[in-house]
């Protein structure tokens, strides 16, 4: 189905944009972990 292809491609494009944004534009605030390793060390200081 055509519409499925369009939506699927749209989702892929949005995902790409989000990743690019995180990689290049997000300030790398590597205070502690930053990511979801779950240790409590990334509580707000």
């Amino acid at each position: 189905m055509e519409w499925q292809s369009y939506i699927a491609l749209g989702i892929v494009a949005i995902t790409l944009v989000i990743f690019a944004f995180r990689l290049f534009f997000k300030k790398k605030s590597k205070k502690s972990c930053g990511h979801g390793c779950g240790c409590a060390a990334n509580e707000k200081q």
């Binding site: 499925q4 892929v12 995902t15 972990c33 390793c37 779950g38 409590a40 200081q45």
Partner: protein, 629 residues
């Protein structure tokens, strides 16, 4: 009415219960463990006095004294925080000295030093239950009178005394007390210690005989030169075995739930790209990782138990001898053990290590303690290797061997590196407190497990989801007209990448598809599982989406173009070895750069470990193949 909230700092020896008190005051769930070195950063939170005034609360790292020539980095941090020298943290308006009531002779030193700094102070006399049980006769009123500061008896882990403490923190804050022990002009330290001794005589009389208590009885086994080791290995093995066996029921449940969900989507939607994206990409990719949630939860549960009970110090004590062979001390054991959960807090915990060189070495080898992110990869491959379903002791044994291999190599590397760095200028000696065994704080342990579990799910729902979507796209586009799945894959972007990579990974026993999956795992190790699920998925008809061991079934039937099985025993072992040694975590590299003070170390570590992983994998596979396996 909007003045700046006042700042109070929690200070005390390690193990005095500061972090438990901090959690009780601020409602947060900071890490709490019954060993020195759990808090290595200044944590902050907020609480309110009974009158509704807001207070900023700082949890400082535990320290034994406030010398200017402080022993380890975390002690220096505490001193800097109290004198207002830490970036971004203002000087506190009041210090709450958290003191273990059963051990005042040592803990009071710190209180006096705080008073000498001219800071207003409140004494939180914690663990009064333990003190009373050991027969100590406490007199908080006398203590307060002699010191000139409020004294609040409490039991932070039972939330007793919190209200009274908050009462003592009401405005206006008590004034800084006078230094009444600076009588003669000679040695301040001698005067301080004499004052502490007289205080303890007055207000904390100890019974004459030292009775053998539960801790002593347990330690006669756990600290025994031989039995202690037996106990240690037994505990570690039981830990691994439990993770495999107890988790299988919830794992099967999650798996069949996901399978049914996939079936339902398949039935609801007509065939097409979006359906494929949802079923193969999202459910297959994310589901492949989510299935391991029970095992992750169990691992953190047991770690929490060990930490909370007080066993960790005993383990560090036992390990000191072994660590010495690696050029490290027993103090390096705890950061390295933390790295089994996640290297990032492990690297940060190295702040308790006095020797700068030892600290660098520990940071360097920490990623080789197989972290929990590798578990999905291990749990995927191990059953394949053994041709069995999960839950047996053989699998636990293999996992144990994997951990041992990583650990041993780390020790070897540490020894070599330590030798290269040369001896310390100042010799540091081993000293470690062995706190009494305490009942685990169940509420804390469960909250901690849930936190880690939620973090895992969140990671799956964000990074892994995104990568799964992108992987699906790479696999699906550009499209080909063929109906043969092999040709479709070869025509897609992923197929072409695989072609490029294959020459590089073939000597390791992998084909282009596996190579691509490995490449994606540099973003996050768990993604390897998702990638395999997506790359090796075949266009399903009706019944395919069901079984959980589906990924493994697909792996078992995967072949090279000439028909040979792709995942032989040697290639699986080679794959495991690669994951043991490769450094595939960008946040770790960032933290290493920060803690070691230079990007050179971090980049060097990454380059070294990647190269080592490649070589080790190559060596294993080639040797094994030559030997005919």
């Amino acid at each position: 009415m909007s003045e700046n909230p006042s700042i109070i700092a929690l200070l005390g020896n390690p193990n005095s219960g500061k972090s438990t008190l901090f959690n009780a005051l601020t409602g947060k769930n900071q890490r709490v463990g019954n060993y020195a070195g759990v808090t290595v950063e200044v944590k902050s939170g907020e609480t309110y006095t009974p009158h509704g005034k807001k207070l900023h609360v700082l949890d400082l790292p535990g320290c034994y004294s406030l010398r200017t020539d402080a022993g380890s980095p975390d002690e220096q941090i505490a001193l800097d925080a109290l004198t207002g020298k830490l970036d971004g943290i203002a000087k506190p308006d009041l210090v709450v000295c958290v003191v273990d009531a059963s051990n005042l002779e040592r803990h009071l030193q710190l209180v006096l030093q705080v008073i000498e700094l001219g800071l207003p102070c409140v004494l939180a006399l914690n663990m009064v239950d333990v003190a009373e049980k050991s027969g100590l006769r406490l007199d908080p009123a006398k203590l307060s009178e002699e010191l000139g500061i409020p004294v609040v008896p409490m039991q932070a882990n039972a939330s007793k005394g919190i209200i009274e403490l908050k009462q003592a923190l009401r405005h206006p804050f008590p004034h800084a007390s006078e230094v009444s022990w600076l009588t003669q002009t000679d040695n301040l330290e001698t005067n301080r210690r004499a004052f502490v001794a007289s205080l303890c005589e007055l207000a904390a009389r100890r019974p004459d005989s030292q009775q053998r208590n539960f801790t002593d009885r347990l330690d006669s086994i756990l600290l025994h030169p031989f039995l202690g080791w037996v106990a240690f290995l037994a505990i570690m093995f039981i830990l691994f075995w439990s993770i495999f066996s107890f988790a299988s029921i919830p794992m099967d449940f999650i798996d069949s739930a996901l399978g049914s969900f996939g079936e339902w989507v398949n039935a609801m939607m007509p065939e097409g790209d979006l359906r494929s994206l949802l079923v193969d990409g999202v459910i297959g990719g994310v589901g492949g990782v989510l299935v391991f949630l029970p095992q992750i939860l169990l691992l953190f549960f047991f770690i929490g138990l060990l930490e909370s009970s007080g066993y960790m110090s005993r383990a560090a004590f036992l390990m000191d001898h072994v660590m010495a062979k690696a050029g490290l001390s027993g103090k390096a054991f705890l950061p390295l053990f933390s790295s089994y959960a996640c290297a990032i807090p492990g690297v940060m915990a190295t702040r308790t290590i006095d020797s700068a060189k030892e600290r660098l070495v520990t940071i360097f080898v920490a990623p080789w303690m197989s972290c929990s992110a590798r578990l999905p990869v291990y749990f995927l491959i191990i059953p394949l290797l053994l041709h069995e379903n999960e839950g047996t002791w053989k699998q636990a044994l293999v996992l144990f061997c994997i951990y041992t291999l990583g650990t041993l190599t780390a020790f070897l590397a540490a020894r070599i590196l330590r030798g290269k760095l040369g001896p310390d200028k100042i010799v540091r000696h081993f000293m470690l407190e062995l706190p009494p065994y305490r009942r685990p704080q169940w509420s804390y342990v469960f909250r901690h497990v849930l936190d880690r579990g939620w973090a895992f799910v969140r990671k799956a729902g964000t990074i892994i989801l995104g990568l799964s979507i992108l992987l699906w796209a790479l696999k699906t586009y550009p499209k080909s007209d063929s109906t043969d799945p092999g040709e479709v894959l070869a025509h897609s972007a992923m197929g072409r990448i695989g072609e490029l990579i294959e020459p590089v990974v073939k000597p390791l026993g992998f084909d282009g598809r596996t190579g691509t999956a490995i490449l994606t795992s540099f973003a996050a190790r768990e993604v390897f599982v998702s990638s395999i699920a997506i790359i090796f998925s075949v266009e399903e008809t009706d019944d395919d989406v069901k079984n959980r061991s589906l990924i493994r079934a697909k792996m078992q039937t995967a072949t090279w173009p000439d028909g040979r099985p792709l995942f032989t025993s040697m290639s699986l072992i080679s794959l495991l070895v690669f994951f043991i040694y490769a450094l595939q975590c960008l946040p770790t590299t960032a933290v290493v750069a920060r803690e070691s003070g230079s990007w050179k170390w971090a980049v060097g570590q990454f380059a070294f470990m990647s190269g080592f992983a490649y070589l080790a994998s190559w060596l294993i596979f080639q040797t094994g193949s030559l030997l005919g396996f």
